[in-house]
Symmetry: C2
Subunit: 419 residues, 2 copies
Amino acid sequence: MMPSPAPNPVTVSEPDPSRRNNLALLTSLVHHNGGLSRAQLTKRTGLNRSTVGTLIGQLVNLEVVYETAPSGEAQVGRPSPIVRPRPSIAALAVNPEIDAVTIGLVGLGGKVQKKIRFDTERIPTAKEAVNIAAAVIAGMRSELDTSYRVMGVGIAVPGLVNRDDGVVRHAPHLGWRDEPVARMLGEATGYPCHAANDASLGAEGELLFGAGAGQKNLIYLNGGASGIGGGIIADGALLRGTSGYAGELGHTFVRSSGKPCHCGATGCLETEVSQSPLFELAGLGGGDAGQLEQALRANSSEAVGAEVARQLEYLGIALRNAVNTFNPEAIVLDGFLGVLHALSPGTLDSLLRSQALDGPAGQVKIYRAALGSDLMMIGAAELAFTQFLADPAGAFPIPTLSQADHAESGALAQSGTLP
Amino acid sequence: MMPSPAPNPVTVSEPDPSRRNNLALLTSLVHHNGGLSRAQLTKRTGLNRSTVGTLIGQLVNLEVVYETAPSGEAQVGRPSPIVRPRPSIAALAVNPEIDAVTIGLVGLGGKVQKKIRFDTERIPTAKEAVNIAAAVIAGMRSELDTSYRVMGVGIAVPGLVNRDDGVVRHAPHLGWRDEPVARMLGEATGYPCHAANDASLGAEGELLFGAGAGQKNLIYLNGGASGIGGGIIADGALLRGTSGYAGELGHTFVRSSGKPCHCGATGCLETEVSQSPLFELAGLGGGDAGQLEQALRANSSEAVGAEVARQLEYLGIALRNAVNTFNPEAIVLDGFLGVLHALSPGTLDSLLRSQALDGPAGQVKIYRAALGSDLMMIGAAELAFTQFLADPAGAFPIPTLSQADHAESGALAQSGTLP
DNA sequence: TGGATTTGTTTCGCTATCCAACATATTACG
DNA sequence: CGTAATATGTTGGATAGCGAAACAAATCCA
């Protein structure tokens, strides 16, 4: 008759973890806003000026943040110095896809310092993806060791991922099943590794650094070559569910006697709304969302209009459900879903207004994603940052100093074949 | 460029509210478990023995809890006294329905002390419901003032309710629109009043005291005369959304070209799955879920089986969506939905296993609700308790002592006509 | 009866925080 | 140009919530 386990049972090693919260709060605030004045920090946290002062002092000592001269904005009163995140505190991001594995380095503050896209000629297996990532990371290793403090690696996988143990339960488009990618990459690199669903991480990325900044309830939907992924932010936190599988809005039911989906059901959103017919109508063999939008805008045929309308109608049903269920402030559409919405701006809004319940529908706004190709890197890095953000003072004795803090954001491109 | 307001801006009157959390934690634990030994409390909270000791001492002084002799369970070591919630700390619950307004008094610990059902001859307006509730409460007033400390009133409304301001946005079956019921009842009684959706409160009730005890992610669905309401618990907390409208699973899309729903859409769960055809087939004019179940079990006609199967199929679609979206551990079915499930036990499980995604579907279990007719009282009372539970030491100078703590749970029945 | 075990109790010390007073840097206004 | 007004950083107590350790009490077990 013990309903639930102890929330705070062991880990008595550190002194009083329940009280170190405000240090973490300040760190997150600085990280997610890329720099805030001390005055703003006191307002945001509700803490005392003096408390913020001492805490910031600690973070400066820990080399987590640094202070710069006040911004030029003219205001009455003593100017407040700006507290900025050190980009030398960094996390690695890995994103395996159908045709590439992308590895990135993201600094505290969410700036992508480095991005390396490794094109593959066929769909990578889990082992291959891990090998590629490990090799690229090994190549960066000396730079990482001298100029950064790497807090870990985050892996964004298009599929069902158990966030607790980092096992990919099923990634249909990659053909992966029960692959312990986090453990594999952890053993290969020595860094602590975590894995999660790519759309969930995208939702967090857009929430913290993108179109949904400052919202507390938002729904993120991404349409790509491998279907539709979703991530849900409820009350400021990602909806995870029992094992981190939550958010699979791509398999929302939208049509009776619809086509069978690879998931075993019929009439899923992702079988009715997909990018391949759009690419065909646009006369494109492949490409990204931007190219698709251009091509569709150039083509004003009826067939295009009909297909766009058809897909928007099904998307509208899924969004109606989501709005009734979550009562969000914002819906963020990424990939080709963003294109659909942009091609016919008012359609989804009016569908929602007429079909969803009055209350929830009246408050929701639909946005297009803002972070583009950096999103996955930022989201995955956030996964690796979480542990650090929860306790910025704990567990890193690495005194490595560096000058990488003001490095420019350089993006490399590279390609190769599978090993 | 200010993404969000200060989380802790004003209310500087009380000394350091950020540190009073463990007192609240203990209070909630005792409340929701109806009594725990001090040893269990230390394990659950992870706090030090001595800390728990002092905190419990405070709660005893505040007359929030009392200690009783250790339970008879034989164990090695010094027996630990049981900390019990004082039922004299109480909250009022109000639940307007189509044919009645029910008023209840619930003590800390979740025991219903009193329940008065006021039958109405027609659907009550908001004003009538408030009048009835206020009159019944006025009648109890002297007892309340002498024997209880009433923390407030919670109103459970079948409809869209803005939890922040207590305004009923739209309760279709009651015919209410934009009714500020919380303010109305607050003015009529002088108690702090809050209102929320009935199914949301049901979800919380079942989570804390019923079938879902100890779960962190569960979905509650209630089927009644006025349709299907839903409440979602994610990560231990009720999903509220921007304004508390979240959880309307009754309007999940389950059928293309289905019947039009009063919400403006078509193919909603609540139009396809409803209790009236079941009552007809059972040959009943009305009644509760228990009577319906008995009648349907007695009737083994094909028509009944077909209708049950049809409704279960649509319910399965809605549950499939919900499972894919939330990855819950448990689904709790109440009202006639519980009957449907009980009549054909394995059906929903196998529907989920074949149609929902592997990961989430493998973990979910379907339960029938456990709290019966007390649920709404408990849930609504919880709404009134929340403020108190967040700060048990703050804001009640009422030193009223009482002997109602050991009163028996008495349920009254009463009926009348509209004023 | 005595040891093992678990838990309540007491005392003490730590530390995160707030508060109040003071110092400093800026704008506003004469 | 100087003074007032304003907002903020800084410093030195004071406080309170909590943990650690030692001790005391109440149970089971051999």
